[in-house]
């Protein structure tokens, strides 16, 4: 009744021991703080409270008000009871023990007790709790309930309904964490069972997590079922090697093969989750399709060779090119999926042995500068991943976070659930749009115009400073050349009202956060976008809360290790273009299937064919490897000791789970060191730890570590010292918006031009890729004349037809058939029906795709995933600064095999 502030802690007594805990703590957590583990089934700290199982019963007493007689304690569920001052929690009171015994007896009434054939046996909370708290025997002698066993909820997760104890962890997870409530209990009581609507297979890319959450063997993994017992497994701490989030994982192995991947808790990175790609796509390591040793090209094509032959051959060929044309005639591409040690060795190899500045891990890159925020003295990524949880607003530009950084999407969702307002800018709807507070559906390629629009809106109504006065943004007005919101809005194709509203949301938010997609950091206008994004951070008063994502499991590590163009060096896209033009004579490709990943398959093939020498490091005999002169069989991330650096700049250690002994595969750093020796230079490495030592000494980002590697949680490091908040003025971006957007040509076409902000001519000269084919206006006219020209947006899906995925057939079977997404109006106009086949014709050819007809893409635009289908969509595209235009035509059944000019499919 007093107005006193609530106490900072309350004191409770757990089994006779006093502990002070924060108010609002759950009794079960208070007990844990006192060192007492209360048994639970349904309770999970990452999920909402259910109180479904009654396993956590404790005898809990409340202090009685002063002057009142003491109240008798009672049985309460510790997982739903919040502490109050003077509370007594007796976890082992006779009544509590009896209640628990009863709960276990009831749970086991209908439990099959098939532990001997249950995957969970040996790591099963139900088993453990039954042993610890259950009665000696049950009294139930009737027929147990019979229900579905071995039922596939999807190709990845298997349900045994008889084992399920109805704790609702799985359903709560699906509903609350990825927000995909595709699993639920149907019917009720005795008849309850887990199902999906219409028994459709679960689609979520996070569903594997329910296997970990299930406290018994009701949910098991299709790929791990009956493969091992937990006590048979060896474990290696590692980091997922499939995207830049860098989820911490444990690799469980048996007989030197990875049998499963489990998340390893790291609250700063992945909490306790992984996505299904990270969990299931590990069979590549033990695949018989792997390269088992090096290959060398002879007169009759590629044939297996010894390592000595391979080194000598590669050394001879590279030396010849170097002697004839200089090191500058060699281009080095790849390295985004290597360890830091490999990347460091590769950077040294390029600089010291090949002596070329043309090094780049960023496939398709059109600009040399790898960090668009460098003019601001910022790293490309400046906050921790966990910052998304506490942000007041989050702006996403040019990224489908669900597919680009999957587990980080879960963190963003968490932030939104905690109140962050999500501003989603993109040319099409993505998963993030479901939670968007503002949707900015801009024209393809017009991200810069959109960002300038947001800046202009901030100039119009500046954020308020701490003293309530509007911030002085006159410098920003000058930096954007006085561009107005309406002008920018026209170019972006977004209405000015929405831009202003989004800007106001960002300006009014505490700790706003900006994520920009990795592709925008390598595109021709990356410099200008970096300027806009940096200015945005400064205008909002949070200069260091702007972040560019990066591609590849170790893209950030590769950037910092120096796998980026040196002085005068060409970015990866230009290296390929120049190789295709015959100016670059040799290509050194590390772990990159360029025919699938370079944005222009024909150009990549041209480059590989035209280059006099092609050396490849690979895991699999990909098409790119098959065109090489020397192929080195490398080990993958699960097979290596070393470090990686995640998108946020976290240096993390990985330990080899699989040892290559007996096979003829070698880690990349060793290939490079040995090849250097064959070329008479020698990097001088004989152990990964030696490279690590050099790496920590040589790479400025790691200087703060003083040579010491971090522990299991990794350590967040920065390449650039983060400036003090608010510091610095605004920088002028090298761009201008054309006075009017180009009008679409062609009759019956509803397409409008993407409002691509143009760089000034001189800049364009320098940055525009050479050998760009026909002028876009001409292409537009030609295509629109056909009646169906649409802008094509392409980006990778989280799980596609990549070689590494293909080695896990269960996962591969969840990948949809290659499709093109078309707006309903365009589909109606072009005679395209949902599910029908469509010929997608671009500047370099045509492919056939299945049509998805919906409202997720606006009229005038279509979307095709980059990593689906054979051939990939890059088979029809040209590497260019323009947004590609394609025409769509329904395919008549006889023509179903018309797949157009294209390279052969996956490897």
């Amino acid at each position: 009744m007093t107005g006193a502030p609530p106490p900072a802690t309350v004191t409770v007594t757990v089994d006779g021991k006093d502990v002070a805990v924060p108010p609002g703590t759950l009794a079960v957590e208070a007990a844990r703080m006192a060192g007492v583990d209360v048994p639970v089934f349904c309770y999970h700290p990452k999920l909402s409270l259910a109180g479904a199982c009654r396993m956590c019963m404790c005898e809990i007493g409340m202090a009685s008000p002063p002057g009142q007689p003491p109240r008798p304690p009672g049985l309460m569920t510790a997982c739903t009871t919040r502490v109050s001052n003077g509370m007594t929690i007796n976890t082992e009171a006779p009544a509590a023990l009896k209640a628990r015994e009863g709960v276990i007896e009831f749970l086991l009434i209908n439990h099959p007790l098939d532990c001997p054939v249950c995957d969970a046996g040996g790591e099963c909370p139900l088993q453990d709790n039954s042993h610890a708290w259950g009665p000696k025997e049950g009294r139930f002698t009737e027929q147990k309930r019979l229900a579905r066993k071995g039922a596939a909820l999807s190709p990845l997760v298997v349900l045994d309904q008889e084992r399920c104890i109805a704790c609702y962890r799985c359903t709560r997870f699906m509903d609350e964490v990825p927000g995909e409530a595709e699993l639920a209990f149907f019917s009720r009581g005795f008849a309850s069972e887990l199902r999906t609507a219409g028994d459709a297979p679960m689609k979520s890319r996070f569903q594997g997590n329910i296997i970990d959450l299930c406290p018994c063997g009701a949910l098991t993994s299709e790929t791990y079922r009956f493969k091992a017992r937990p006590q048979d497994l060896d474990h290696a701490d590692s980091v997922c090697g499939l995207c830049p989030v860098g989820c911490n994982v444990i690799l469980d192995t048996r007989s030197n093969q990875v049998t499963r991947v489990r998340p390893r808790q790291n609250e700063a990175v992945n909490e306790i989750w992984v996505c299904d790609k990270g969990r299931f796509a590990h069979h590549w390591s033990s695949s018989p399709n792997r390269l088992s040793g090096p290959w060398v090209r002879g007169a009759d094509g590629l044939h297996p060779a010894t390592w000595r032959q391979a080194y000598q051959e590669a050394a001879r060929r590279l030396a010849a090119v170097k002697a004839a044309h200089g090191g500058g005639a060699i281009g080095v591409i790849g390295g985004r999926n290597l360890t830091n040690e490999d990347a460091h060795a590769l950077a040294r190899f390029a600089a010291e042995v090949l002596e070329t500045p043309h090094v780049d891990f960023r496939v398709g890159a059109q600009v040399a500068e790898a960090n668009p925020l460098s003019p601001f003295g910022l790293d490309a990524f400046n906050t921790g991943l966990d910052a998304a949880e506490k942000a007041g607003a989050i702006l996403l530009v040019g990224t489908d976070v669900h597919d680009e950084v999957p587990v980080q999407w879960l963190r963003i969702r968490k932030g939104v659930k905690a109140g962050a307002r999500l501003v989603v800018a993109g040319p099409r709807a993505t998963e993030a749009d479901r939670l968007a507070f503002h949707r900015l559906r801009h024209r393809p390629g017009s991200e810069l115009a959109l960002l300038v629009g947001i800046l202009a809106a901030l100039v119009e109504s500046p954020p308020l400073d701490a003293d309530g006065a509007p911030r002085d943004l006159s410098g920003l007005a000058a930096a954007i050349g006085g561009t107005g919101v309406d002008q920018a809005a026209v170019h972006a194709g977004v209405d000015a009202v929405t831009i202003r509203a989004a800007a106001a949301t960002l300006a009014g938010a505490r700790d706003p956060l900006v994520y920009v997609g990795a592709r925008l950091a390598i595109r021709h206008d990356a410099g200008a976008i970096g300027m806009a994004v940096g200015n945005l951070g400064r205008a909002l008063g949070y200069p260091a809360r702007v972040n560019f994502l990066v591609e590849g499991a170790n893209g950030r590590g590769a950037e910092w290790a120096g796998l980026v163009p040196g002085p005068g060096g060409l970015p990866a896209g230009h290296i390929i273009a120049k190789a295709a033009a015959g100016e670059i004579k040799a290509l050194y490709v590390v772990g990159e299937n360029l025919l699938e990943t370079h944005p222009d398959a024909a150009q990549a093939r041209e480059a590989l064919e035209r280059a006099e020498v092609v050396i490849v490091h690979e895991l699999f005999p990909t098409v790119t490897a098959q065109g090489a002169d020397v192929v080195f069989a490398a080990t993958g991330l699960m097979e290596k000791d070393g470090t990686t650096t995640s998108v946020e700049g976290r240096l993390q250690r990985i330990y080899a789970a699989v040892h290559p002994h007996g096979s003829d595969r070698v880690p990349d750093w060793r290939i490079l060191s040995d090849l250097a020796a064959a070329m008479g230079a020698g990097l001088g490495y004989s152990a990964a730890s030696e490279v690590t030592k050099d790496l920590l000494a040589d790479v400025p980002a790691y200087a703060s570590l003083e040579g010491k590697l971090p522990g299991s949680a990794g350590v967040l490091v920065r390449a650039v010292a983060v400036p003090a908040a608010g510091g610095g003025g605004f920088l002028t971006a090298p761009f201008h918006l054309p006075t009017a957007p180009r009008a679409a040509a062609g009759e019956g076409s509803t397409t409008t031009s993407p409002g691509r902000a143009r760089m000034p001519a001189d800049q364009r000269e320098r940055e525009a890729p050479p050998a760009v084919p026909p002028s876009p206006a001409a292409a537009l006219g030609a295509l629109a004349a056909g009646g169906g020209a649409l802008f094509l947006v392409a980006s990778p899906e989280i799980v596609g037809h990549e070689t590494i995925v293909a080695e896990t057939p269960e996962l591969l079977s969840t990948v949809p058939e290659a499709y093109v997404e078309v707006n309903r109006d365009d589909a109606a106009r072009l005679g395209i029906v949902a599910g029908g086949l469509v010929e997608v014709r671009g500047p370099a050819g045509a492919v056939t795709r299945v049509a998805r007809v919906n409202g997720r893409v606006p009229s005038g635009t279509c979307f095709a995933p980059e990593n689906l289908g054979s051939p990939r969509i890059n088979a029809i595209l040209r590497w260019s600064t323009e947004v590609p235009l394609v025409t769509l035509r329904p395919v008549v059944v006889e023509g179903a095999e018309a797949t157009g000019a294209a390279v052969a499919g996956a490897r």
């Binding site: 509903d175 995909e180 409530a181 595709e182 699993l183 639920a184 209990f185 149907f186 019917s187 009720r188 199902r195 999906t196 609507a197 219409g198």
Partner: protein, 203 residues
């Protein structure tokens, strides 16, 4: 099995605003859909899910909780025979068996819902209908009928209306208690409905 435009409009304009959360409109929406189609198909769940921003699984799971939502087509006449104690003691098991027998369906309570091939009848046992004073009670398309003893079954099937219990109205789940709209009970006469409903509660 698509929802009619009228139903969609009603869900959006009438049901959703009635509650603080969209999800709360799920029950009347499901009921309305069932009144239209007689049963609930998966596509209907999808449509309702779209209208209420719910995952289709959520919609289907809620529907599965209630036996009064049908996941399969039911006959024109849905005959539900009470199998709880008052009715059982009055011989409802024999009533149920006789109905099944007359309709050419296997008898016995273990069968759940059974329908005749011509789609005319569906029969199933049900829990206490709160009309024990008319035991054995049989519900036909949500209207109370009773007592229907085994010997009455032929007459009952001939003309169920003869066994209809006056003053025991069915209940519109869509309209809610404010507007009981059943034959002879005009919407907007809730006072009446309640007083009559109250007077019949003899047990």
């Amino acid at each position: 099995m698509a929802l009619s435009q009228a139903a969609r409009t009603r869900i959006v304009d009438e049901f959703i605003p009635r509650y603080p959360s969209k999800r709360a409109a799920l029950m009347p929406a499901l009921w309305l859909a069932q009144e239209e189609a007689g049963w609930l198909a998966n596509e209907t769940f999808e449509e309702i899910g779209e209208l209420l921003d719910l995952h289709v699984t959520d919609v289907a799971a809620v529907a599965s909780f209630y036996v009064m939502f049908h996941r399969r087509p039911v006959g024109e006449l849905l005959i539900e025979v009470c199998e709880n104690p008052s009715c059982y003691l009055a011989g409802s098991d024999a009533t149920h068996a006789r109905i099944c027998e007359r309709l050419g369906l296997p008898a016995g309570h273990g069968h759940g819902m059974q329908s005749t091939a011509d789609g005319k009848y569906s029969v199933r046992p049900t829990e206490c209908l709160a009309a024990c004073d008319y035991a054995p009670v049989v519900q036909v398309n949500l209207r109370f009928h009773g007592p229907v003893r085994a010997d009455d079954v032929e007459a009952f099937l001939d003309d169920p209306a003869r066994f209809s219990i006056e003053g025991k109205p069915s209940f519109s789940m869509v309209a809610g208690p404010q507007a009981l709209a059943v034959d002879g009970w005009e919407a907007g006469a809730p006072e009446d409905a309640r007083s009559q409903g109250g007077s019949r509660a003899s047990g």
